[in-house]
């Protein structure tokens, strides 16, 4: 010990050594971004064969030094605030690592759950395609009854390797952080994909609406959780690939290359209620929030196919005014949002088409109008 703690300065001559392959000093791959303008950080984990995945984590997640086997390692939750936290590990191995079933059952084993047969797999796996990646997501609760553990595991095959994103922790912790984790998954993309890189920016923190921003924007209703809604979109609306968050996504094109974006999302529960959601949208346009008494005058009610829509129409002012045409409809214990956002003129022109489109929305098993 004494020998290790000495303060003796040494000097010596050695045969020339090569540095690491990096020509320039590199910023460490993981770290947090506390500044208000950049609240996320991108981590790139090089693989031996050069194929990388990168991702963006919320700044509250603390990067841990990667251990022997991990590509990335984070504490999920605010440990500094004294909260219980979960653990996110990111690993990658060549090949299929035994296949989907073996890995799912390995995870189930860690939670003391019985293994599943091949036929049962489709029941527990949610499959999502995004950023050119095929994600297989499982969500299990297990462990001793006294301190239940929950695990959300994601398997991503990528360029001959299999990546694993495993989020584990006490049941309540994982449940609370699930929306943030799902939002994080949306940011996972190939590092070498310039289109994806260009399109992914820091996840926005929504305006302060008094509602949990994560619950408002990022919660996902898994497709198998219950019956969904179906709709028929005008053919000139261009469908975009769905993402974890979105049930549906369309580009509405106008003159001169301008476009508006239609997103269809769904979240469990009332998601704060009509007033909170209306004010959230108004906040995004820089408009002042409405009082409860003003709500009725500001919204339009619309009934179609046994669904009761609340339609909100708002626009910002100024040279490049934006307009949001939003509709919310409660269905089977969840709240569905249809939101058309874009330049004021284009969205205003598209409003009759949007209202017509809303009338095609129906329970997925229902008759086509």
């Amino acid at each position: 010990m004494a020998a290790c703690r000495d303060t003796k300065i040494s000097s010596y001559r050695i045969p020339k050594e090569k540095d690491l392959s990096l020509a320039e000093p590199a910023v460490p791959p993981v770290g947090a971004m506390p500044s208000s303008s950049e609240n996320r950080t991108v981590a790139t984990v090089p693989q031996a064969d050069g194929a990388d995945l990168i991702w963006t984590v919320p700044w509250l997640w603390k990067a841990k030094p990667p251990s022997a086997m991990r590509k990335g390692s984070y504490t999920v939750g605010d440990a500094d605030a004294g909260e219980a936290v979960g653990d996110l590990s990111i690993t990658a191995f060549p090949g299929d690592v035994g296949g989907e079933r073996a890995n799912v059952n390995r995870w189930r084993g860690q939670l003391q759950l019985e293994p599943l047969a091949e036929a049962e797999l489709s029941r527990v796996i949610t499959r999502v395609t995004q950023n050119g990646l095929n994600l297989s997501i499982v969500d299990f609760v297990g462990g001793p009854a006294s301190h239940g553990q929950r695990m959300i595991g994601v398997i991503v095959p990528f360029k001959g390797a299999t990546w694993f994103f495993k989020f584990t922790g006490p049941e309540a912790v994982v449940a609370k952080a699930k929306p943030a984790f799902i939002a994080f998954l949306e940011t996972v993309k190939p590092a070498s994909d310039p289109v994806a890189n260009a399109s992914v920016s820091a996840l926005p923190i929504p305006a302060d609406t008094g509602i949990s921003p994560i619950a408002m924007t990022n919660t996902v209703v898994p497709p198998e959780a219950g019956p969904g809604l179906a709709w028929t979109a005008p053919t000139r609306w261009q469908s975009k690939p769905g993402s974890v968050m979105r049930k549906g996504s369309y580009i509405v094109a106008g003159e001169g290359g301008v476009t508006a974006d239609l997103s269809i999302t769904a979240f469990p529960g009332a998601v704060g209620g009509e007033l909170a959601n209306t004010n959230r949208w108004r906040g995004q346009l820089g408009l002042p929030p409405l009082a409860e008494s003003e709500l009725e005058a500001a919204v339009t009610r619309l009934n179609a196919n046994d669904l009761a829509f609340t339609l909100v129409d708002g626009a910002s002012t100024g040279a490049d005014a934006k307009r949001i045409l939003g509709a919310m409809v409660p269905y089977q214990g969840a709240m569905w949002f249809f939101k058309l956002t874009g330049p004021d003129a284009l969205v205003a022109r598209e409003k009759p088409v949007f209202v017509e489109f809303l009338q095609t929305v129906r329970p997925s098993a229902g008759p086509r109008p």
Binding site: I9, D19, P25, V27, M33, P65
Partner: protein, 386 residues
């Protein structure tokens, strides 16, 4: 005076003291084991065992909490030795006890010396890679290397403790003084925002990256990332202030007075006059399962003078002992592509083996004497009953 001496002597030779020390030792181990969740294995060794008194901070004030390992071990050693000296009788009948206790005394001394002398390092090797140095798992050093020469690097290594004490270093091999402007034993490196306040660093990577101080971590799965802002001050002005950190992955280069330099904060290195090349790392599993059976590294050992040039195999529980170092198979990384060897320098490594042999011999002698005595007594009885 005599009675005081007798009291002291009686205290140190008493069996009650032995029992009390053993009980306190057990309590110490129990408490330290519980504390391991807070401090990790290295932290508790320092706080509970390699100290005379265990100190605990209460509202920022350090208070003595419990006798430490050195105190209990030291007293036990004095107790054992003085009891022997006091009760020593040169007789065959006591030879076993004498040997056993000598072994125990040697074991205690060995643990003390290990605590003082042992140094732990790691060596990471990718297949085909050759290294002649190991890296400390805990201690870091600031290195300034003159890389102007085409064949050799001139290295000046400054231990992290010097930075921690904010000592200014003036070394004959350096054309500048090394001034520590700030030092953080643990830090988080962050990309510097455009509207951030001016950085302490005036050149290098520190212009775009800042080190934010963090509390020290003692958890086994976590590592501290020390960082420092180092100014190289010369007679003709400053050669620049650099941000150095163990979290940066490569050294920073700069020119000064026609010489090329690099600066880096890296794990402390132990250079040896031999090198090891990883030929193959094997991770054997039981057939048909993923259960590990064996980890082994086949290495090529070469000395600069050519005395040794041979293959060696290190596997679990079969370390290589060479040139005062013991090299164990400790781990692997990156899908079995990298082997991690633990390199231990412990001049007193032989003592535990000698002490165990002494204790074993002592017990054999002691029980042997009793057995023979018993058989001797029994023999006439058998004859009488016949």
């Amino acid at each position: 005076m005599k009675s005081l001496f007798r009291h002291v002597r009686n205290f140190f030779v008493s069996l009650q003291l032995t029992v009390a020390l053993l009980v306190l030792g057990m309590l110490l181990i129990f408490a330290a084991t519980l504390d391991q969740t807070n401090l990790g294995i290295w932290g508790i060794q320092q706080k509970w065992f390699r100290t005379f008194v265990v100190m605990q901070e209460v509202r920022g004030v350090p208070l003595p909490l419990f006798p430490g390992g050195y105190l209990l071990g030291g007293l036990l050693l004095i107790n054992l030795i003085s009891a022997h000296v006091y009760r020593f009788q040169l007789s065959w009948r006591k030879a076993g006890i004498f040997l056993t206790h000598s072994g125990l005394i040697l074991l205690l001394i060995g643990e003390l010396l290990s605590g003082l002398w042992q140094e732990d390092y790691h060596m990471r090797l990718t297949a085909g890679e050759t290294r002649n140095y190991a890296e400390s798992a805990r201690f870091n050093e600031l290195v300034l290397t003159d890389i102007t020469d085409a064949k050799f690097d001139d290295v000046v290594a400054i231990p992290e403790d010097v930075l921690a004490q904010h000592e200014t270093v003036q070394h004959p091999k350096l054309p500048f003084r090394v001034v520590t402007k700030a030092y953080f034993p643990n830090s988080l490196l962050q990309r510097r925002a455009t509207d951030a306040p001016p950085s302490l660093a005036t050149t290098g990577v520190g212009l775009g990256v800042v080190a934010a101080p963090q509390p020290l971590t003692y958890k086994q799965a976590e590592a501290n990332t020390p960082s420092a802002y180092i100014e190289l001050a010369a007679t003709d002005g400053s050669a620049g202030t650099f941000l150095v950190s163990s979290g940066l992955v490569a050294p920073q280069h700069f020119d000064y007075n026609g010489h090329q330099w690099k600066i880096d904060l890296r794990p402390r290195r132990l250079y040896r006059p031999f090198s090891l090349t990883l030929l193959k790392f094997s991770h054997d599993r039981y057939a048909g399962t993923e259960i590990p059976k064996n980890f082994s590294s086949r290495l090529h050992l070469t000395t600069a003078g050519g005395q040794d040039d041979r293959d060696v195999l290190i596997y679990m529980n079969n370390p290589l002992r060479y040139a005062g170092l013991t090299i164990y198979q400790a781990g692997f990384e990156n899908n079995d592509r990298i082997t991690i060897l633990q390199v231990v320098r412990n001049p007193s490594w032989i003592l535990p083996y000698v002490s165990c042999a002494l204790m074993a011999a002592g017990l054999i002698v002691q029980f042997g004497l009793h057995l023979f005595g018993f058989l001797k007594k029994r023999h006439p009885a058998v004859l009488a009953s016949a």
